[in-house]
Symmetry: D4
Subunit: 248 residues, 8 copies
């Protein structure tokens, strides 16, 4: 429970939990910035990742692990049972550590589109995270711009849900977010995926195209499904009591 | 005035105004996607730009021209007086063509930050556009991360206005949006500016750093002040009657 | 007049015209490969360019000069009058040296599209060249993908001319050729233009996007209007007598 | 069977077949744009690819799968026998799903050249696809520019077939399409291959060289054998009844 | 023992030890430039690496091996026991060959910071090397800029040790060295790590951001923990007798 | 004069001076981080730059302006005389605003080397700044690696001054810092200059070569003479009373 | 045996040997351009490579195979014994097919230098090829510029052999060829190797540095040991009877 | 006159001439490495360049200045007459300072080819330098690969002079050196020129293509006419008495 300062009524913003000498969990992040604890597994040693997840469970806190490697998933699956059971989502690309996240979100809908079948696994990562946060998601996949009728039909359906943000995933030439932004009223966030080959492959062409879009979209990095989902979620976050600010 | 279909009650979305053989103004864009008519002057011939602005004035419609060159500004200034007077804003980087924009915005505040003095002219472009749309803006400039106390003091002031979006402009190493996103609850959009030199200059380092941010921010292209402002504005757009959709 | 070999009936393919020590005009190119003499002015000294154009006129042959600089245009305009008058086309981006080209083309139509007003000058370069070759052109400009209704209406008109090739010019995110290729039966050649700014500007994003297109389009280099027009024209070339081949 | 509108006589262009929630087959693409159903396997999950192929077979439609991975090939080979037998072509780089493609092609020949032995597997992918579409192919391999006599001898043979398009595959320095385009009358499409090493390897030098060609060739992405083949095929497509257009 | 010239009193600087025909150990480097013998294992054959380490042991000299591969580690571990025992440090990323290094360092402290948990293994490489040289190290890990309170608390602790140099490791957006350099008086060396993904991943964004820093920091290459540690150590090196210089 | 806290004896670190709405001078930087006020003129409007310099003079504080453009220099030269006279140094690349800098440096020498004559103007910028800070500089220019005898002779002279840091400027192939680092005991900071042409020109090759150096050097950005000089100076800074830290 | 034309006395230059449909051996290359048959194995299928080697042996001709993969080496080793025995050289990076090469070389020496131990395997590839051609080689390895005394001692030895060309291999910062070219009279060819890491790794920095060299060296691609050796060998080639030229 | 050591008979190699504090002329370079004094004007201040040329004239030595800017040329032309008259060659791209160069060359021929008219000015720079050194040059211009008959005819002529080296200049796709290297026996050095546009323009495509050449050519940097000429000249240099070496 956050301590409240007697003098100012502010809540201390800076509770941190040290894990070994290699990690410091930021337990007030949710309240402070409207974003839950999400651990990017990619690049961490198995030992460090396990230590972090164990700490979360010991503290009775919830969170997410994104993009675990096969070795990391095996280790996570062999954690002793004495705590909430980890949930493996979106084809194992996202792991949920059940428990209180320290923040909540108001009603609202996010739309998730994927240009091609190859973009689906990345898009699912965002959809699973948003649903894990309790946010409503509508979606349509394989609606790329080389077959416009598929897209128009899908948008007609999605628009009925009046989404507050569109997350549009596309690899290759990355044109979908631009086309969508010319047809809907809500802000569009483009997520380039690493699908593609040759020059501009690995998402470089899609990212460049989205940055050059002649429609006013915003963009995240290649395959950055989780940051995109959090950006959309933040708009729906219900602010808690303001944490005490750093003193300038 | 938009024609309304007798059969469906929908409004036709596709009124276009042809200018010479080189331009087609999209007169329903405002109603359709919550974004006004904005003409990027950069890259257009003086003749084409003048033709477009004349059309807007003839039709009694408002809009904006961004980034006119010196030659284009001279031509715009010499337009005959028989219409609303063009307004030159943000150090002449933005020109307002007064008139109805075909859309409006609900109450709400956008925060604009600039990391250094060199980023100010770009940031002012966004601020002028948002104010031109009738949206409230709070701002703080020269609050870069190498002197944190300046930033913390400024944020304390801005947060009191409870902005719905932060637009954070930074060149050089582009760290400011990440630091801000760790301190505020509203979504942060990073705008890399072309300030910098040597490797990663011209905004490349700032853009890359923002795309790699360890906080969930969204990004626009280098110096893309206008798209960033429109993205923030779209969130406040009040939808008109839905225009008739393209038939799939 | 090409010499015909008595032994094989073949025509010699290799007549060249030396100009100073710096140029060798390839007078059989038209007959050999279905492409006229086109001199790219960019990068040549004024003296060299003048020498080449003088040679063409002395030999009573026609051709084109593309992308003359201001200094080159002045020099070309001051050439003595004793020959066919040079024609300055497409906003002076193309110069026609009247005279026989040594090849001709069958009936057929090429469609030229430009995504935005800023792409028009480049597209006009291709249109002027094709018309200079006697090929029929249909065109539509400012039909970018952020306002699909404009595009669909234009395509309905263009398709009635049953074009054999589409040349589609687009800068920024370069999405137009992909969208067009999903709607028409003729082959689409994408021409990225150098319109754009920031990362992927100068046509890099558009080129990469076209190379990554999920539709089977072919591409030329940035702003390469003349090569694109020639590629489309070659399909309509009527082969002359086969020139004698190089002996392996 | 396409439905024909009673009012306009047009055929509906937009029949789609949904597969799971991850794919929408575009069953009228052949008729609409002259290109068959081709599924790029690369980047798709095994499960998604199998689902798509099963749908094609259930609907009694033909198509192609390009670049299956080893795992995907194993899965495709273990599909139950109750349908047309999949054909593995071009060293397993292309898989044919027998069945009607919904389009056909007029007589005509495409020439396929490969600069070196290492480019042969990519070139074979194009040759197999064109032959699978019923189009005549002539070819010559290992005819790179460092030994011109080999090339000249091969071209003499190929020219006798009067090909309508040349597809020229080259890695390393990518010079072959330029040299060929100086010797033949038909349009040349360059296909850079990923053969090469060090700076400019992976096809980057070849692609750049083809884009910079001093002959008017068009280009596709690195290793893009299938798009190149389709681009060449489209020229020979016999248009069906025009599908109903999207309504602007 | 270095030979001293009778005439000048200088010590010969150029004793080298040839190993096979593939290596020449520079036995006076320590005395000459204040840096010990460090063998970068990456890129060497197992045979060559073993030969070098054997030579060191035969000569009774100490040194370090950095970044051995798994195969190299196995080979090193199976070296016969007849010499000082190799020590495997920092998760096996650094191997110490015990023995005299031919140089020593005065008292002084170096601070090592790592922005995230994923940067820890690289930072540990520097810490282990510095400690192996007998230099005092203070450190703090997971103190990235998205949670400033963690950083400020850690700096308060580190500053009490009055470090002479800060080595600051950061991947992703690489902002930490800039923020630290705005808060401490000692010189800051930024070490970009290869942690990150998509555009600017593999450390490119972090490196570019550090080069663009608005604070006066110096930088080393991506993951260059050992060079950074040596650069910091050199400042503490106690010069031996000047070796004889190369004669100009 | 800094206020001293009665409770902790700490000095407040955060005095800022606002200039217009576009700049906030950080008056405690010198004391806090050992670096004086240096304004990078490049990228600032003339008006903003003048405002900042006027503020410095009004407050009776000293500082530097680096890389003023011709227009900025003219404006600075026309400032009214009622204050200390600006000094234009290093071929006008550096401007000194006389006055107290709020910090001082202990005795010590920095060595400045330039590989070629073309690198001299950049190196002079560093030399002028260091001398402006009261630090002793020894230097040698045009001592590139293609004529080693020149370098060896110069180093023999410089070493006698026992410099604490070497700043080594080199364009083209950037080899000089590596060679120097193999010959001297003090730390070497490489400064790539923008001298060069073709591939790797504009300093890119020199920067890359210095980052890849097989000697443990540190690096700054291309032409970053001022940051390099400050980095070297910081080592000689005499810490004032510790400013009050930001409260975590 | 080359056929000699009765009319001109010239020898036909264009004998080719077709292997399957995938390769055409250029049996007159040696006589025509002074370079033997060398097959780059990298990128070829095992089947194609075997076919080529079998053809060479059937025709009783010699040649080389460079950079076979493990699978290719296994296949080559299992070729039936009924012909000259393949020789595996330079750590299996080069394979010699014994037999007449169709060219010979005059007396002359080539010097091979390698900057570091990691560059040795690449340098050995060149040394083995040159020796296989009967050319004398002198060499020195691990003579990088961070320890100049090692280099100077080695050069003193190599110069005594009066080499006609220096091949200088270096990765990392690639400075060695520049330094050598300032000390010797023979032309220097720089060979960047792929040794290095981080920015500019994989040989990119070394290549760029060599292209920017302030000494007049020539360069080949990264790791291009075989082309470098052939370039040096060509200078020593004794021309045979001029082959008949292609007829213009 | 070089001093000769009494003890060893060697000539001192290291005479340097200091010019101001910004340049050190290397007066023994010619004798030491077979290359004359050549000053790259690009990047030097007018004052520095003049100082160097004045020194050369005062010392009665010859040399060359390459690529003077317009301002530098004006300054050079206004030098007082009291010395040998400067000669402006190759369209003013090269300036000869008459006087002894300190080296001479044996008989021998270099061939210079340029692919297009735009490459001629760069090629002329090399031709003028070689002729200035007294070396025989044969040349052919505008012989690009898109019209092979022109090239074959030119090569037939050039080969009669039995050149020892070919310098082949090409921009755009850079294919000419590869084609030439397949037809002649002498070594080929490719010189990419900056002619071209769009992706791979400014010589990048030509350079990459030459580095990837399937023939064993060597390469210099973009537009590096002078280094290429010196590399070819060095082969013809007649060594003087060996200068005294640096003592290891």
């Amino acid at each position: 429970m956050p301590r409240r300062s007697r003098r100012t009524g502010e809540v201390r913003a800076d509770r941190e939990r040290e894990v070994g000498h290699y990690a410091r969990l930021d337990h007030d992040r949710g309240r402070r910035v409207g974003v839950p604890e999400i651990v990017l597994a990619e690049g961490k040693t198995v030992e460090h990742l396990l230590g972090i997840v164990r700490s979360l469970r010991e503290d009775g806190r919830g969170g997410f692990v994104s993009r675990p490697t096969a070795a990391q998933r095996r280790a996570l699956r062999s954690l002793p049972a004495g705590g909430p059971r980890l949930e493996f989502l979106a084809g194992d690309r996202l792991v949920r550590v059940p428990g209180p996240l320290g923040l909540h979100y108001r009603d609202g809908t996010v739309a998730v589109l994927a240009a091609g079948t190859s973009d689906v696994p990345i898009a699912e990562e965002a959809r699973a995270l948003l649903q894990g946060l309790g946010i409503r998601v509508v979606h349509a996949y394989d609606v790329g711009v080389a077959g416009l009728h598929r897209l128009l039909r899908a948008l007609a359906r999605l628009e009925r849900a009046r989404p507050e943000t569109y997350l549009v995933f596309a690899g290759r030439e990355g044109a979908l977010p631009t086309v969508v932004a010319g047809l809907v009223q809500a802000p569009v966030v483009g997520v380039p995926t690493s699908f593609g080959y040759g020059r501009g492959g690995r998402g470089e062409a899609a990212l460049a195209a989205m940055l050059q879009s002649c429609a006013p979209i915003a963009v995240v990095n290649i395959d950055a499904a989780v940051p995109a989902a959090l950006f959309a979620a933040q708009r729906l976050a219900v602010p808690g009591p303001r944490p005490r600010r750093l003193r300038p």
